[in-house]
């Protein structure tokens, strides 16, 4: 299982439909301060089910919707889609036979979130279920946000235990 691409539309500073591909084993994301790099990581966490606005640097969950800029108006919804490469069929369960798996989330200004697996509407729970056992998830140790790496070694014993349980 690997990540082929992410599509963002209206998510934080990515107001225009944007596709970012990850074609190889080590992708570097570069750009000046404030250009949107960490927003991409927020998008990945968000589509995988992150429900805490604080974890996404917001006060409300609708803070992820593009809220305008000097030349643009705010818009009504945010959408993020992750496209996974499952050619090795390591993702089991109902999706084992697919070569590609898409996970999508849309939120509107009423804070209504809609989830999609391979463009079929589903519940948030279905998305988190698909990733059980893969080590992926909104709070996975495999996604280290800016300024948070040292807190991993300083975590409480119960928190470290949780990471071990993710791997088990």
């Amino acid at each position: 299982l690997s990540l082929d691409a992410i599509k963002l539309m209206g998510f934080k500073s990515f107001v225009d439909p944007t596709i970012i591909k990850f074609p190889s084993i080590r992708t570097g994301v570069v750009g000046p301060n404030g250009c949107g790099k960490s927003n991409i990581l927020d998008a990945i966490r968000w589509v995988m089910g992150e429900s805490s606005a604080k974890q996404l640097r917001g006060e409300s969950i609708i803070d992820v919707i593009f809220n305008g800029s000097r030349d643009r108006q705010p818009i009504g919804q945010a959408s993020v889609e992750l496209i996974f490469n499952n050619e090795d069929h390591s993702l089991g369960g109902a999706y084992a036979k697919y070569n590609q798996i898409s996970v999508k989330r849309i939120v509107d200004r009423e804070a209504q979130s809609t989830y999609f697996l391979n463009n079929v509407r589903c519940r948030r729970r279905d998305i988190t279920d698909v990733f059980l056992g893969t080590g992926l998830g909104a709070r996975s140790y495999s996604m280290i946000g800016q300024g948070t790496i040292t807190s991993l070694v300083e975590s409480k014993p119960e928190e470290l235990r949780e990471h071990l349980e993710e791997v088990a």
Binding site: G28, S69, G135
Partner: protein
């Protein structure tokens, strides 16, 4: 299950015990179970960089904590590689030598795990096999530009 957790704990501990001295060029580290009951025992981390004495983990320096955390995450990957790993500016506290160590660790681990990393550091950027450039040409609006490594090294400075 109790059995499963203990097994996972022991395996990750083995990896961590050998990873840490590799990352630090010496020293020792290990995980410890806190509590009697395997069903809810916590996990504590002990780390001693080369030549130093074991203290509490909080006393370590910013760079030392960062490398220790990388060693732990990669030990978890050795047991059960996550499909991809995202690292957002984890190299910020590292000196030049340790950035080099970090890059070598990522290169090695990327045989099992796909990496996506954000960095302002030239050496880290150079180890990428593909680069994604993000700009805000229009104020407040992010867009992607394709970049090659050489112009990226120049680009980390523009704003």
């Amino acid at each position: 299950t109790k059995q499963c957790f203990k097994e996972t704990f022991d395996k990750v501990n083995e990896f961590f015990k050998s990873y840490f001295p590799k990352v630090f060029g010496g020293g020792t580290a290990y995980l410890e179970l806190i509590g009697e009951d395997l069903l809810d025992a916590g996990v504590a981390l002990m780390a001693k960089p080369p030549g130093k004495k074991v203290g509490n983990i909080h006393q370590l320096s910013g760079g030392e904590k960062t490398l220790t955390a990388i060693a732990l995450v990669f030990s978890l990957f050795q047991l059960n590689p996550a499909p991809f790993c995202v690292l957002d500016e984890v190299d910020a506290p590292l000196d030049d030598t340790n950035v080099g160590h970090f890059c070598n660790l990522v290169k090695e681990m990327s045989e099992k795990v796909q990496f996506i990393f954000v960095s302002h550091n030239k050496e880290t950027i150079e180890m990428a096999t593909h680069l994604v450039g993000i700009t805000m040409q229009e104020p407040g609006v992010s867009r992607v530009v394709s970049v090659d490594i050489d112009s990226a090294i120049g680009m980390v400075g523009t704003s």
